[in-house]
Amino acid sequence: MADLSTAVGPLRLANPFIAASGCFGYGNEYADSGLVDLAALGAIVVKGLFLSAREGHPPPRIVETPAGMLNAIGLQGIGVRRFVDEQLPALRARGATVIVNVCGTTIDEYCEVSRVLSDHEGVAALELNISCPNIREGGIQFGCSLAGTRDVVGAVRKVTRLPVMPKLTPNVTDVASFARAAEEAGADAVSLVNTFLAMAIDVETRRPKLSNVMGGLSGPAIRPIAVRMVHECRQRTRLPIVGIGGIASAGDALEFIIAGASAVQVGTANFVDPFIWGKLTAGLDAYMTRHGVARVADLVGSLDTSPQART
């Protein structure tokens, strides 16, 4: 077995495969039902948390689209305090590497949520959700502005010693400039991408298919755009990158890693196949063995874009 461990800045992971936020509940659901050994994952990112509980949008909250899905869950969640009380202890006991997806409607809220989490053992890193397209007041207003990104990252940086990783939205003209803004403001890494703002219409009723009108597009459909964005960020920053978007196989994950990601998150594909994690590590192991690659780090950003030599 090859050495699958990887580092995302200060964060060490047993393998590069991370369960994406909002796609894995609080993690305990999958452990309770015996489906997944949480300690076997690189890490899990739990569902986005505000200071208080949120009830989210009314259903319908999802709709399938070609090779993808739209969601407008609206960040239903139990709030950070109930999380640390009710969910974190079990996650710790299960040996999970826990990253929390931190949400806020104000910079103060991001800081307060981060403070609560930093005060508890068992949180490995903070992923700042400045990119949820589904609620007006929750993040995207920061994530679509360079100043907003700098402000949130800089403020959270001051209140925690945990690794800070803003999660970038793809709904911008130049994503790499946001990675740079995060870098300047003291982030330890960036994760990208969150979902693409999108919509689907029921033509029979002439109404949107989601109660929230718009939702976020995820799944294999978006993968080529996400890979491009990781590649752009790799070229223009030195920040470690966690790649996200449409990963459904080890080969898909390798595209992100070769483009420049030190680790990857898997969301939608885990809905289709909750046993995907073992297949991902086995596939990466087979690839590294076949290609004689000793460490994941040797693959990260190894893309060769020189013009093809022809004979």
Binding site: A67, I73, T268
Partner: protein, 283 residues
């Protein structure tokens, strides 16, 4: 090799590449699909469901939820598989209508909260609209095994759509049919014979079970409330994962009458709910 996940308190959830054993055409819209999935069949309880994907690849992408209709058993009575009562609604159900024996389907389960199986002297009255019949075959078996008297109120548009009623009769289930066009049983909705029976039941304690279109379940829940009967409904919300991971399948419930409503996941808190908890105005 199927993937399975065992736990202390509930049957293992398995992901099986299930071979199609038979695909029985009932009408243009309905078929019964028999799948080889012994691991899932062995642990399944009445009211549970499976998540199916008719073929690998991205079209369709997500699995879809289906009630376990019947458990298949070999000569020794050991579970070998399960059947699905499939109604054509779109991509996946369309593919499941046309799939041939020998092909296979990815089948994940058993999932969800099962029905509570009531004991005598309480009677079990099952109320089914169309494909809402699906969860009741295994429930009827469990009830009958306990000696509980079972009645099925079964409604459809017309006689030709009242599929599989015979299989319930053979189990010893009393059946009251209704059709919208009056071609069999009462003319009108299934609540017509149900309301009449509730009026006339005298002192008999009745536990209602309902599955079907939302307006039907809402009406049954209202009748149950009026008559002071416990009523379990099996809801059919759109589900992204079936495992509690995505929060797509929520339904608004109130824990106490007049309490603050909140969203709970129907894949893990349900699909079976006490009808009294549901905020019906929003469904």
């Amino acid at each position: 090799m199927p993937h399975t996940a065992a736990t202390r308190d509930r049957p293992a959830i398995a992901d099986v590449t299930a071979r199609v054993l038979a695909n029985t055409h009932l009408s243009d819209d309905y078929n019964v699909l028999a799948l080889a999935a012994p691991e899932i069949a062995a642990g399944a309880r009445p009211g549970q469901f499976v998540m199916l994907k008719p073929r690998p690849g991205h079209d369709p992408l997500l699995r879809r939820p289906f009630s376990i209709f019947e458990i298949l058993r070999d000569a020794q009575g050991l579970p070998t598989g399960l059947t699905i009562l499939n109604k054509r609604a779109g991509r996946t159900t369309g593919l499941l209508a046309g799939i041939a024996p020998g092909e296979s389907v990815a089948c994940l389960g058993p999932l969800g909260r099962p029905f509570e199986v009531v004991d005598p002297p309480t009677e079990a009255w099952m109320v089914a609209g169309g494909v809402g019949l699906a969860p009741f075959a295994t429930l009827a078996d469990a009830l009958i095994a306990r000696g509980t008297a079972v009645t099925l109120f079964y409604g459809a548009r017309r006689d030709a759509d009242l599929h599989c009623a015979g299989a319930f009769e053979r189990r010893g289930v009393r059946i009251a049919c209704s059709t919208e066009d009056g071609s069999r049983g009462d003319r009108g909705l299934v609540t017509v014979p149900l309301a009449r029976a509730l009026e006339r039941r005298g002192g008999t304690a009745v536990h209602l079970y309902a599955c079907g279109p939302t307006p039907m379940m809402r009406a049954v829940a209202a009748l149950a409330g009026r008559h002071g009967c416990r009523c379990d409904v099996s809801l059919e919300q759109v589900m992204g994962c079936g495992l509690g991971g995505c929060y797509s399948c929520v339904v608004r419930v109130r824990e106490t009458p007049g309490g603050t409503p909140r969203f709970v996941r129907s894949c893990s808190d349900g699909p079976v709910f006490d009808a009294a908890r549901i905020v019906w105005e929003e469904l």
